[in-house]
Symmetry: C2
DNA sequence: CATAAATGCCACAGCAATGTGACAGAATAG
DNA sequence: CTATTCTGTCACATTGCTGTGGCATTTATG
């Protein structure tokens, strides 16, 4: 209880290198877990250039580390949606901007959120994002960009897959160029002429 | 060495129920490993309605079981390619037939062959299939079905993803109907009019 | 029915990964 | 420089899965 009497100067600050290590563990973990969902904490720590014990000092359990990684992704997705202004911007503009943003997110946080249905908070935030995009795709159909009469949920399922595919299949493209490919493929397909 | 003297009638035949159990383990294993690549043999056995020990009687190790499952998939893919006559048939016909066949394969053997690069034999057979499809897509471009000038490998990567997506996203569609969706999306995209 | 094949169940050893404790040493902030 | 924070390392208990042996029981087949 003596800690409460300590001033802010006495209480130690968070060290900068600790923050760097934390970020390294999170991004490296995201990359490795995307490649192999069963990756061990030891392998992630080694790849991030950190001891296994250091990871356990920041995260009480494997679940907590995973939660932190998936939360990083969902937070980035929320920002991507906000920035694209899916509700207000012209559909063609919003679509391209959204795709470009998500491609950047996919490259930093390539993990699949479908593997994190256990944590309620994250699942809810993810569901909200999905709903947001579904609404946008409905608007895109209403305003004549997308064809009506497609199988239920087809566009909603196709778009994330295209973004995921281009993110790892065409890594040399910039997010903007990659978005060009995704939007062009989504709208026009690959037919000649 | 007395076994060599035994006649075929003395040597026991393979029992029919054993074959059924084997197939159940393989298909159930494929389904569960697709959902979770770290699924334990115990869980697969339970789901298939057999004892864990029964699995170990047929497969010396986990690796062997996985190899058998992935081999089932690659064999089915080879048959699908042959049946589609990718080299000879008109490109539009061959494409639809190939897609329809692979969708059926995906529903029985949904595992991802990219997770089986360890076994040389399977990897080689997989590579041969990939090459076969790549050649076909080149022919489709040469004959004016697909647009030239796309990013390298884009069509090759997109097609399997579309088939994979429709296989699990639209399970109520027949393989033929699902193939309609894939081919239409691939060639025309989702743009209105 | 009688034989051979196949399965289910119990038990056990080995291994890899998780999670925790303690302590000495390195790095940083004031 | 000094106090504090952070890290690396050795050690240890625990858990879940793999892989194996033995034996009684069930089931298919001729």
């Amino acid at each position: 209880m003596s800690q409460a009497a300590h001033s802010a100067t006495t209480l130690g600050a968070v060290r900068a290198d600790a923050v760097r290590n934390l970020e390294a563990v999170l991004t490296t973990g995201a990359r490795m877990l995307a490649a192999d969902p069963g990756a061990s904490i030891a392998s992630i720590a080694t790849e991030a250039g950190v001891d296994r014990r250091t990871v356990y000092r920041r995260f009480a359990s494997r679940e907590e580390l995973l939660t932190a990684i998936y939360e990083s992704r969902v937070t980035a997705i929320e920002r991507a949606i906000e920035d694209a202004r899916l509700r207000e911007a012209p559909v063609a503009v919003a679509l391209h901007r959204y795709v470009e943003n998500i491609i950047a997110v996919n490259r930093t946080w390539p993990v699949d959120l479908a593997r994190m249905l256990s944590d309620d908070a994250i699942r809810r935030r993810r569901d909200a994002c999905v709903t947001e995009v579904d609404d946008f795709l409905r608007r895109a159909t209403d305003e004549g960009l997308l064809r009506p009469g497609l199988p239920a949920g087809w566009a909603s399922a196709l778009l994330p897959q295209l973004m995921h595919l281009v993110s790892r299949q065409l890594p040399e493209l910039s997010p903007a160029q990659a978005a060009d490919v995704v939007v062009d493929t989504l709208l026009n397909g690959l037919r000649a002429s």
